[in-house]
Amino acid sequence: MSGFSLTEADGPSCEHYHAGRKSRWLVVCDHARNKIPLCLGNLGLAPEVMEQHIAYDVGAEGVARQLADLLQCPALLHGFCRLVVDPNNQPDTPGIMREIACDGTEIPGNRNLSAAHKQARLDALFRPYHRAIADAMAAIRARGELPLLVSVHSCTPELNGHQRPWHIGVLWNQDGRLALPVMKSLEAAGDIRVGDNQPYSAQETRFYTTSVHAEDLGTPSVLLEIRHDVIATPEQQKVWARRIFSALPESV
C-alpha cells in the first residue's frame, strides 16, 4: 500500500453542521458516511459491501442532522467510511483500521499498512475530527455551561444470526444523566423497544468519542444506536429525530 493523502476532490474530513449555533448540546455522528478517499480506490471491496453496515451507520447522518435542527445545536459529522479510520476507536487498537470487519469481511486495503501510512490516515481522518469535537465542547464550557454530547449511531437488525429486538439502544457508562431519562421517556411511549446498553454495553467497551470528550471529563453524554430498518428513509429519520428530541431531558 502506497502513501495516503486526501485530495481536494475528497472534500474535508468532517462536516461542521451549523457551527455557529450556540447551544449546550452537541450532536456527533462518527460513522455518517461510506465515502472512501480517492487514493485508496475501493479498499479491495465490492460496491455492494460499501452499502452495508460494515462501511457506515446507515441512516444515522439523517437522524443526526434532524436532531441538531430540533435542538438548534451544531453537529459534527465524520466524512469518511469507518473502514478507513474508525473515529470511535483508540488510535492504538486494532479497531482503528480493521483488517477484518465485525461481520468477518476481509478488508484487503487495510492489510500490511506501513506505520507511515497509518499515521497519514490518522492525521487526515482522526485528529481533525476529534480536535473539532474538543473545540466545540470547549467553546460551550468557555461560556460557563456544561456541554451535553449526543452520539448518533445505527446498528444492523441482525448480527451473526442474532435478531436484535430493540428499536433503539441507549448506551451509557457511569453517567446516566442523559441515558436514564431518555430510556424512561422512550419506553413511556409504549410501542418502542429500548435496549439499556444494548446491543452492546458502554460499560464493557470503551467507546472513544463519548469517553474522551465527555465521560472522562465528567460531562454528560449518551450514545444512541438506532436500528437501520427503522431509519431507512428520510421520513423515518425525521420521525426518530423527533422521538429522540422529545425524550432528551430539558435540563441536566
Binding site: R127, D135, M137, A139, A142, R206, V212, L217, G218
Partner: protein, 257 residues
C-alpha cells in the same frame, strides 16, 4: 457475625485534604501548558495509609520525586501555566485510561496496596470523580483557551524515573518520550545531547508501545504538539537541582513549533 461486613465509608475528599490539583501561574497567557501528573505523595485522609507502610510513600511508587519542583521552575521560565495533581498516584493515577487496571493499582512496583484491593464500584467512581475528572477537565479547558485565542497549544508533561528498575541501572539522565509527533522531540533531544547529557529517546519506556492518558487524550489524539519528559530522580532531589534541570530543559526546548 458482622465481622465480614465492610463498613468502610466510601471515598470522599475532606476540606483538610485541599483541592485535587493546583494551578500554578493560572493567569499566564502562553502556548505552553505544563502538567505534572505524579507531583505529590499526599494521601486523601479517608484512605489512611492505604495499608502501606509510611516509608513506601517516600518512594517512586507513590510519586515522581522532584518532578513538581522542575515543573514549577520550568513553567516560570516559559512564563506558562502549570497544572499540578495533588495526590499520590497510588490513590488514583491520573495518567491511566479509566479502564486500565493500573488506574488504582492493587500492586505497584511489587508492593501490594491493600486499600486498592477489592475496591467497591462506588468507591472507584468516587475516586474518579474527586481525583481524575477535575484535573483533566482543567487540562482540557486550559488547552482550549489557547486554541480559542487562535494559537496552537503545546503540552509538556513532566515526570521523573527511578535510577534502577528490576536490577537494571538506567543510564539516561533524562528521557524524552514521544509517540508520532516528533516536532518537539527531535530538536529537543538534539539540543540536550549537545549539552553532553545522556538522553533516552523514548526511554525508560516508549510511548509507542504503551498508551498512557494525559498527553495522548489531550494532545496527541488531537494532533497537538506534546512531549513527555522524564528526569532521573537522583538528579532532582534538591530544590537547587530542580532549578538547574528546569534551566537545562528550558534552554533545550525549541521555542518555535
Amino acid at each position: 457475625m458482622d465481622s465480614c461486613v465492610d463498613t468502610k465509608p466510601v471515598f470522599r475528599l475532606q476540606p483538610e485534604d485541599g483541592p485535587s490539583f493546583e494551578r500554578h501561574g493560572a493567569r499566564r497567557n502562553s502556548r505552553w501548558l505544563l502538567v505534572c501528573d505524579h507531583a505529590r505523595n499526599r494521601v486523601p485522609r479517608c484512605l489512611g495509609d492505604m495499608g502501606v507502610g509510611a516509608p513506601e510513600f517516600e518512594r517512586h511508587l507513590a510519586y515522581d520525586i522532584g518532578a513538581e519542583g522542575v515543573t514549577r521552575h520550568l513553567a516560570d521560565l516559559l512564563d506558562a501555566p502549570a497544572l499540578i495533581h495533588g495526590f499520590t498516584r497510588l490513590a488514583l493515577d491520573p495518567n491511566r485510561q479509566l479502564n486500565d487496571p493500573a488506574l488504582m493499582p492493587p500492586v505497584s512496583d511489587g508492593v501490594v496496596i491493600p486499600a486498592n484491593r477489592h475496591i467497591s464500584h462506588e468507591e472507584q467512581q468516587a475516586r474518579i470523580d474527586a481525583l481524575f475528572r477535575p484535573y483533566h477537565l482543567a487540562i482540557a479547558d486550559a488547552l482550549s483557551a489557547v486554541r480559542m485565542r487562535g494559537e496552537l497549544p503545546i503540552l509538556l508533561s513532566i515526570h521523573s524515573f527511578t535510577p534502577e528498575m528490576d536490577g537494571f541501572k538506567r543510564p539516561w539522565q533524562v528521557g524524552v518520550l514521544w509517540d508520532r509527533d516528533k516536532r518537539l522531540a527531535a530538536p529537543f533531544i538534539k539540543a540536550l545531547e549537545e549539552e553532553g547529557l545522556v538522553v533516552g529517546d523514548n526511554e525508560p519506556y516508549s510511548r509507542q508501545s504503551y498508551r498512557t492518558y494525559t498527553v495522548e487524550s489531550h494532545a496527541e489524539d488531537l494532533g497537538l504538539p506534546n512531549l513527555l519528559v522524564e528526569v532521573r530522580q537522583d538528579l532532582i532531589e534538591t530544590e537547587a537541582q530542580q532549578k538547574a534541570w528546569a534551566e537545562r530543559l528550558f534552554k533545550a526546548l525549541p521555542k518555535e513549533v
